[in-house]
């Protein structure tokens, strides 16, 4: 089970992910609503894994991913975005993302992906 930081600009999606991850036995150590806050929270909390929304105000998810990877190359980040933005996958993977979740998602698959990234 892991210590997870959830990054998403909508409270609804953060709450949904929090519920899913909590039901899988994970510990939600923090939340952030944009990319800039994500980097600060990452450095402060040192989570085992980050779920990162791609489209966010101020600093977007890809930029935040790059910043987190620059600060900690071993960081485990799963990108999370809406249907139709799958083109971002290559960019995210190139920038160091370990996994990719497409909204809307189903709890068992999210937990499987998180487990697989945490154990990698």
């Amino acid at each position: 089970m892991g210590r997870i930081l959830i990054v998403d600009d909508t409270m609804f999606m953060r709450t949904l992910l929090k519920n899913i991850l909590f039901s899988g036995g994970h510990d939600i150590v923090g939340e952030a609503a944009d990319g800039a806050e994500a980097l600060a929270r990452y450095q402060e909390l040192k989570p085992d894994l980050v779920t990162m929304d791609v489209v966010m105000p101020k600093v977007n998810g890809i930029e935040a991913l790059k910043a987190i990877k620059a600060a900690d190359p071993a960081a485990k980040v799963i990108m999370c975005t809406a249907v139709g933005q799958e083109q971002m996958v290559k960019l995210a993977v190139k920038s160091g993302a370990r996994g990719y979740i497409v909204k809307p998602f189903q709890a068992p698959k999210v937990l499987e992906e998180v487990k697989s990234v945490l154990s990698a």
Binding site: F12, N19, I20, S23, V89, V102, P104, Q106
Partner: protein, 268 residues
């Protein structure tokens, strides 16, 4: 025509017999003793190690055949390639997304697509995938980055073993538009035309994600009655179906007596 062992449903029973699979037709031996041209087949459905073949001008003759996967695979391929159906050559990727998780090693298969009465079939050298029309949750004409180019694709969302799966079809734009229109028409019954208010939409999203009633009530700060009202709306417009009915109870005098007694001499 090479003969292979099969079982066929005859008068409500499974009967062992043989089947001949030819280039343009297949034959089912006694007790059916019949030959069926692939082009007369109007529908094909599969269930585990069985196929259900509907043939004839009015689609009235139904054959249920059980056999090993290898035999059924050859039979299905002939039927899909020659049956009376809307068919086109295309590339397909199925599944591309499962339960919202992108399948990273998914690849494009070169093959054909046949839209039959009850299902959409993808067939390639290595794969045979059937998406039952009744399981299609969405059809969209969209674009996807393929070999660093944005190309038009048809995106099909469908249910598979209680998971939402996304598949993609790629072919020239003119054919793609025809396929899209054809699939739209075939799945018209599942289109949502009703206005959905934001709360109902949020509840639907949470149900989709696998949240139960108590998690939804906590997340959206809803009472049991409020959530029931939203469920009623989802049921009314056909977006959901009843899985089971939750009960609320109060104790009978016998129950009250049990609790009173239990408090006097505590139970472990």
């Amino acid at each position: 025509m090479k003969s292979v062992p099969i079982k066929v449903e005859h008068e409500g029973k499974w009967v062992p017999t043989t089947m001949g699979i030819g280039e343009d037709r297949f034959r089912i031996d006694a007790p059916l003793n019949t030959e069926i041209f692939y082009k007369s087949v109007v529908d094909l459905d599969e269930k585990k190690n069985q196929v259900v073949i509907t043939a004839g001008a009015e689609g009235k003759t139904v054959y249920r055949v059980a056999s090993v996967e290898k035999v059924l695979s050859v039979l299905k391929k002939f039927i899909i390639m020659q049956a009376s159906a809307y068919r086109l050559n295309a590339y397909f990727m199925s599944p591309a997304v499962r339960g919202g998780v992108l399948i990273q090693d998914a690849r494009w298969d070169k093959g054909a697509i046949a839209v039959m009465k009850t299902g959409i079939w993808f067939v390639s050298q290595e794969k045979q995938v059937c998406i039952p029309i009744g399981d299609v949750a969405g059809i969209e004409l969209t674009s996807r980055e393929i070999q660093e180019k944005d190309l038009n694709v048809v995106k099909i969302d469908h249910l598979s073993e209680n998971e939402v799966v996304t598949s993609f079809v790629l072919c020239p734009m003119t054919t793609l538009q025809v396929l899209y229109n054809f699939l739209k028409e075939a799945t018209r019954d599942s289109e949502v035309n009703e206005e959905i208010d934001p709360l109902t939409g949020q509840v639907a999203m949470l149900v989709y994600s696998g949240m139960d009633s108590s998690a939804i009530e906590n997340m959206l700060k809803l009472s049991h009655k409020d959530l029931d009202a939203v469920y009623e709306r989802l049921l009314e417009i056909g977006l959901a179906e009843v899985l089971y009915i939750r009960k609320e109870v109060q104790l009978t005098p016998k129950g009250v007596r049990y609790i009173s007694d239990a408090v006097k001499s505590p139970i472990n």
